[in-house]
């Protein structure tokens, strides 16, 4: 396997965001450290630093988990308190790792990390097999819409690289995944669940195969990552363009610009071409796309994830928070919504209060209707509840002051997601996924 970190010549590579689920005990930090180390992302001075620290802590070998050692505040308490983002590149792909702490009280961090990931690595300690936390991590990855799961059976070195141990764990995991419906993807087809035996400590099957598991014929972890589909490439999503900002340089010295009216935003899903008929929601005005621009560049069409400026044929009164869709697309403004909500704040959700919901570039005041049930993230059992505490996940209905234009989260992650804001503190207190 070639191991160049940065390939300067390859400009056509894509980007993959993935998350790692597991606790320090599963070797998660070692796995990330090993990926960074074996792809040559770790440079000499960082290595010198962690070698020193390893010695200071009385360890014989360099402890690669120190590469993800966090803040002073965390070291003092001996815990990881927050999602950290790490980067590496193979020359064919750039990777963003969301590294989330795995304990139960950090459900909110798992949900945060999962929200931007297209793939999850779920770590299992080969000595312990499928545990409650494995179920929790798998359920949360599924809830937040991650379609690609890599189950990494780690610490194979401590089980003499035994093939039977590995096979039994894989079978256990599949049984559990089928029981709770994790094996089904949003289209109803089988979800992409893959297994890999490894030793992050020694580096078996991460970047290099090494020779300890000749019985395993599958791909290494890095090979799987290199082939994993990027976000938005697998589904036909409809065109959704929330307007972020309206550009009207009418005071410009350039007279040609006096009538310029550009609708600026990021295409959250789908694609658009010059000449397409569009409707602006919630008002329902119709027009056609006259031009698509990125800076000075004029485009004939544009796709998901591009930040562009759209010019329309007709003068339409449009402002931030409106959404441009293709005419005929099935999406309507609604004032009542049903969602799975993960509560993120130490202050419990109070059903009596009014909150702000931010969805795409739009905000609305929201009142809680009913809380149907909350989900025990360890057993996936439903329980009755009257309020939500931090890390709770529940099915909640809201009444809205302003209409929102929504898709269900399983159809469209960007247009099905929202956050809940507490107006008194301005804190982000909840994360929602439209049912």
């Amino acid at each position: 396997m070639t191991q160049t970190t940065h390939n300067a010549r390859n400009q056509n590579d894509s980007l993959l965001r993935f998350m790692t689920c597991g606790s320090v005990d599963d070797g998660k930090s070692t796995l990330i450290g090993r990926l960074l180390f074996d792809t040559k992302t770790i440079l000499a001075d960082t290595l010198t630093q962690i070698t020193k620290t390893s010695k200071k802590r009385g360890m014989e070998a360099v402890d690669l988990s120190l590469l993800t050692d966090g803040l002073q505040a965390e070291r003092e308490q001996g815990i990881t308190i927050d999602v950290a983002y790490r980067y590496f590149s193979t020359g064919t792909r750039k990777y963003i790792i969301a590294d989330a702490p795995g304990h139960e009280q950090y459900t909110r961090n798992m949900v945060t990390a999962a929200s931007t990931a297209n793939l999850a690595i779920i770590l299992i300690d080969a000595r312990k097999g499928v545990l409650t936390q494995t179920r929790r991590h798998s359920y949360l990855a599924h809830l937040v819409g991650i379609q690609h799961i890599l189950v990494a059976v780690n610490k194979m070195d401590l089980m003499n690289y035994n093939e039977n141990t590995y096979n039994e764990i894989c079978a256990d995991y599949l049984t559990f995944a089928n029981e709770i419906g994790l094996a089904q993807s949003r289209s109803g087809a089988n979800k992409d669940i893959r297994f890999i035996p490894m030793s992050a400590l020694n580096g078996d099957m991460l970047v290099d195969r090494l020779e300890n598991m000749p019985w395993y014929k599958g791909e290494t972890l890095l090979e799987m990552l290199e082939k994993a589909p990027a976000a938005h490439t697998e589904q036909n999503e409809e065109f959704r363009f929330p307007v972020q900002f309206v550009c009207r340089p009418h005071a410009s010295a350039d007279a040609d610009l006096h009538d310029f009216r550009g609708f600026m935003g990021r295409i959250e899903s789908g694609d658009i071409a010059v000449g397409d008929s569009v409707t602006v929601l919630p008002n329902g005005y119709q027009s056609k796309v006259k031009a698509i621009q990125i800076g000075d560049a004029q485009l004939l069409n544009a796709q998901t994830e591009q930040s562009v400026t759209l010019l329309l044929e007709d003068e339409i009164d449009t402002s931030r928070g409106d959404m441009i869709v293709k005419t005929g697309s099935k999406i309507e403004p609604v004032k009542q919504i049903e969602a799975f909500v993960c509560w993120l704040s130490e202050t419990p959700m109070s059903p009596a209060r009014t909150y702000i919901i931010r969805h795409t570039t739009r905000e609305s005041k929201a009142k809680i209707g009913t809380i149907a049930y909350k989900v025990d993230v360890n057993t996936m059992q439903q329980q009755a509840t009257v309020d939500l505490k931090m890390n709770d996940i529940a099915r909640v209905s809201f009444k809205l002051a302003q209409p929102l234009m929504l898709d269900s989260y399983t159809q469209n992650r960007a247009i099905g997601a929202f956050i809940v804001i507490d107006e008194s503190t301005n804190n982000t207190v909840g994360a929602g996924m439209i049912v």
């Binding site: 400009q11 927050d82 983002y85 980067y87 994830e305 956050i419 982000t428």
Partner: protein, 313 residues
């Protein structure tokens, strides 16, 4: 015209990063009432200026530019800063650490100590003077471990403090830039970029940079195992980093990987005199950007974290 199938191709990583950064800049413009873009003339902030052009042209930027000048900056960089702001036709505000020293709000322990950490005081004074509710900056998460956990929209209280244990959760691309009067948001559009991404973007966009980023001959001294630029003239006529007794001044071909306070920013030995040579050099380097060049981060394992808690960028 592209056909429908080709639209299923994912964006290249540079296009993706560019689009994400434009989106973040537009969210700042959409959510904040009085933002400012911090611009030093350094490579990261020059990338952000290009991103702002792509985000807002043909309109004007919905924010002024501001530089917190330590008075210890390379003249080439200051000239470049002024020239770039003039070319863009955007307003540039300069506030100086030396003015804070005159006011008595910055007190130096020794006259030639690094002034990077003192920028926080001047920055907070400028935020109060103009009532800015958001400062856009070029920090990246790959720079330093205290940055790896920083939000893209990072909340600071009235004292400019960052509380790592109490950050707002940040999910999907739904950013929360709300603040009450006196509080402040720091927005980092290139959080997810690495040093390599920055150089690749500079190459692709053909961005102009201050000359000290490219290999040049410069008198240097070796001090504490690091290369130190020697005898650097300042705008006020003063010459700093003069050799101490026993130190030898030699001429070396060097370039800067990062540009900051002269007293704590070291150059690296290099013959890379074009952007594409720098891209190649970055691909094969064995030392991190800050490890090579930022002497102020090496005082302790947590020096960046400490500075950020005190209001630093």
């Amino acid at each position: 015209m592209l056909n429908k199938n080709s639209l299923k191709q994912p964006l290249s990583h540079l296009d993706w990063l560019e689009s994400e950064a434009i989106h973040i800049l537009r969210e700042v413009a959409g959510q904040c009432s009085n933002p400012v873009l911090l611009f030093s003339g350094g490579k990261d902030s020059l990338c952000i200026l290009r991103l702002a052009e792509k985000a807002f042209r043909p309109g004007k930027f919905p924010f002024p530019l501001m530089h917190i000048d330590t008075g210890h900056n390379y003249q080439e960089v200051i000239d470049f800063r002024d020239q770039r702001a003039a070319e863009l036709g955007e307003r540039l505000i300069v506030r100086s650490v030396e003015d804070s020293m005159k006011r008595g709000t910055v007190v130096l322990k020794t006259p030639d100590e690094p002034r990077n950490k003192h920028q926080s005081v001047t920055l907070l004074e400028a935020i109060e003077e103009f009532a800015f509710d958001c400062c856009i900056g070029g920090a990246r998460r790959d720079e330093e471990k205290a940055r790896a956990k920083e939000r893209i929209m990072s909340f600071r209280d009235e004292f400019g403090q960052w509380d790592p244990k109490n950050q707002r959760p940040e999910l999907w691309n739904l950013y929360n830039a709300r603040s009450h009067k006196g509080e402040n948001i720091r927005a980092f559009p290139i959080s997810n970029w690495t040093e390599m991404d920055v150089w690749q973007y500079i190459e692709r966009e053909n961005l102009q940079l201050p000359s000290i980023y490219f290999a040049h001959n410069r008198p240097i001294i070796m001090r504490g195992g690091a290369i130190f630029p020697a005898n650097v003239p300042l705008a006020n006529g003063e010459v700093i980093n003069q050799p101490k007794a026993g130190e030898e001044v030699i001429n070396m071909q060097v370039r800067f990987r990062t540009v900051g306070d002269i007293t704590c920013t070291a150059p690296v030995i290099s013959d890379a005199d074009t952007v594409s040579k720098i891209v190649l050099e970055t691909a094969t380097t064995t030392i991190t950007e800050r490890g090579a060049t930022r002497l102020d981060d090496q005082t302790s394992d947590a020096s960046m974290e400490q500075r950020k808690k005190e209001g630093y960028f």
